[in-house]
């Protein structure tokens, strides 16, 4: 049983690494937002698995808090993108001489 939990945590960490790679390399801002959300979800899972591996199920409260906060952060970022600024970074930014975006 413990071996199963250890294997699960290793698999979750592999997924975290993949999500991290997408968050860091992501060509557009939407890739990054999705990857950050995914990474947060995996962090919740890792905390939950770790709670049972280490025999402290009260740590599950932290997992709940993480999932709530992750949601808040992603919603805030999406509200900002919704305002219509050019946040996708595949385009070269055109910055005028006075430093303002066109």
């Amino acid at each position: 049983m413990n071996l199963l939990l250890v294997a699960a945590s290793l698999a979750i960490m592999t997924t975290m690494a993949l999500a991290l790679a997408r968050a860091l390399l992501g060509p557009t801002i939407f890739d990054r937002i999705l990857a950050v959300n995914m990474f947060g979800t995996k962090a919740v899972l890792l905390v939950a698995v770790f709670a049972f591996v280490s025999g402290r199920p009260d740590v599950l409260d932290i997992a709940l808090l993480y999932s709530l906060l992750n949601f808040v952060g992603v919603v805030a970022a999406l509200r900002l993108v919704e305002r219509g600024k050019d946040y996708a970074d595949h385009k070269k930014p055109e910055i005028n001489k006075d430093g303002s975006n066109p």
């Binding site: 250890v6 860091l24 962090a43 890792l46 770790f50 805030a76 050019d86 430093g99």
Partner: protein, 186 residues
């Protein structure tokens, strides 16, 4: 064993993320990556058996700080960082020196959960035995926080109070103070 593996992997993620945060110039992405960074730090605190610190780190770092940073970006015109090619030498030097000192400081630290460490053998025993007599406070935690570490708590309260005043000063709108009964000229 598995907690050691989780520690190493999380620290590795932190290192990679710190380097990439330096290299990404898209401010929105940087704000979100800072949120992730803080989440990872909170995870590390949890593995180190400090759930209360993990709670605070997650709530402040991932929740409030990310939202505040995003709100600040929403108020600015430019969403790109100014790219500087030059490496600032003095801050780098200060960072390296402080990091070296911190690493040097970890040499003398007691092992995690070591029952022979001085805090467990000397201070705690004294608190439990003499706390009631010394301070006259029935609750031991209150006695430690408010009496034995009174100056420390005073400093914390001062910092929090100063931060509150600072936020209040920032939030004051630059408009005329209206006095009751007097019509403001607009």
């Amino acid at each position: 064993m598995i907690s050691l593996v989780i520690d190493i992997v999380l620290l590795l993620f932190l290192l990679i993320m710190a380097i990439f945060i330096l290299r990404v110039h898209q401010l929105l992405a940087v704000a979100m990556l800072f949120g992730l960074y803080s989440l990872l730090v909170a995870g590390l605190f949890m593995v180190l058996d400090a759930p209360d610190v993990a709670f605070t780190e997650a709530a402040v770092g991932t929740g409030i700080a990310t939202v505040l940073m995003l709100a600040t970006i929403a108020c600015t015109k430019v969403s790109q960082e100014k790219i500087q090619r030059k490496v600032a030498k003095t801050p780098l030097f200060i960072c390296l020196v402080v990091g070296g000192l911190l690493m040097y400081g970890t040499h003398n630290i007691a092992d995690l959960g070591d029952p022979e460490a001085p805090p467990h053998t000397q201070v705690a025993k004294r608190y439990i035995e003499d706390g009631q007599k010394d301070t006259g406070v029935p609750n031991l935690v209150t006695a430690v926080l408010a009496s034995y570490r009174g100056f420390d708590t005073l400093g914390e309260v001062t910092v929090v109070f100063t931060a509150g005043i600072g936020v209040l000063l920032l939030l004051v709108r630059p408009q005329k103070i209206r006095i009751k009964g007097v019509k403001s000229a607009r």
